[in-house]
Amino acid sequence: MAESSAAYPPIMVRGLRHSYEAHPALRGVDLQVRQGTVLGLIGRNGAGKSTLIRALLGLLMPEAGSAWVLGEPALQLTDRVKERLAYVPQQPEAFPWLTAEQMLRFVGQFFPRWDASFAKDTLSRWSIPSTRPLVKLSPGERQRVELIRALASRPEVLVLDEPAAALDPVARRDLLREVALRAGEDGCTVIFSSHIVSDLERVASQVALMHEGQLRLHCELDAAKERYARLWLPAQFTAVAPAAALSRRAQADGSLTLVVERDAGGRWPEVVQMAGARLDALGLEDLFVEIAA
């Protein structure tokens, strides 16, 4: 709270719970995102990522808990906050009868910091057909138009739900570059959900892993790679396996695979020293699979 520009975290979530027809989607989620963070939100299909995103933006009334965006309760955002916020859903549906150019010109009027030249340049860079109405575009093209809308509004908070699937590798790199620079240079706060873990690894400063409606891990991305590792213990050592592990899987041959963590002094649990034990550094995707499989 020391920074005068941000007396509150741009995104704050407390005790969120929600379910769909008795199927729990969020089972008590707390999250705070500091200004300038790029938070990569990963998790399997159905882990609750989209529900969390919709609840934290006030697009869904949770059964319990609350969310704040730029200091306002998410369910009662004023226009003052809405114009500083941009969200790209997985399946955008707004203004189907307009062409991309018409739509961007129209919505641009409502954003005080609208960047018309960015919108124009990116439309041609990302090969968006200029004469067809949005309803006639492919889902991928439609989502690209929404990404342009979101970025051109120069938001303070940018929320992207699975944006990368719609983009070819060149456009995807463009998007990542924009996200990285907006966050790193302008202090934009970004939440970015994706299955494509390597995209997140380029730009994310923090990673949050959702599993079965809960956040199982939320830390700096670099710390996630340095602090955790996979430990394999042959069957004869499984009795001395550390009790505290982020995940634990018994293998068919009686051996055990664990995700272990360094202690406050940076040391691994003692058992890693035993002959036959094996410790492997993990990339984010492997860590994801170990925890969520």
Partner: protein, 127 residues
């Protein structure tokens, strides 16, 4: 130095800031980056690789703290004067420690005799 000369592998277990720092250490120890040579700005590296500028800053900051780089007003980061002096052999050897340890582990997993591996390595090194 051009930003595209850095190799960045986002999916590697090694964090990106550490990949950048290790490359700077090696390039400077080997004299491939000479004293006073200008480094690409944080922004240039971030743009070239679509990575977070804060990650690049962190690597540069650590390299500065190690005395590898220095910040010159108006010029940005340059290779620091004393680091350009040829490093001792021991220091350069220390930089090889991580790959040597990885190699050692693989040799043990493959249950290969040390002398066979050393002979092959000698050949690769042109002895």
């Amino acid at each position: 130095m051009d930003a595209s000369l850095l190799m960045i592998q986002p999916s590697a277990p090694e964090p990106i800031y550490r990949q950048i720092l290790e490359q700077l250490r090696r390039l400077i120890a080997a004299g491939q980056l000479a004293e006073g040579e200008r480094l690409p700005s944080v922004r240039e590296v971030a743009v070239a690789h679509a990575v977070n500028p804060m990650t690049v800053s962190r690597a540069y900051g650590l390299a500065e703290a190690e005395g590898l780089l220095e910040r010159l007003r108006g010029k940005g980061m340059v290779v620091a004067a004393q680091s350009a002096r040829a490093r001792s052999q021991a220091e350069r050897l220390a930089l090889l420690e991580p790959p040597l340890q990885a190699l050692t582990r693989q040799v043990k997993e493959l249950e290969l005799p040390a002398e066979l591996v050393l002979r092959r390595l000698g050949k690769l090194l042109g002895e």
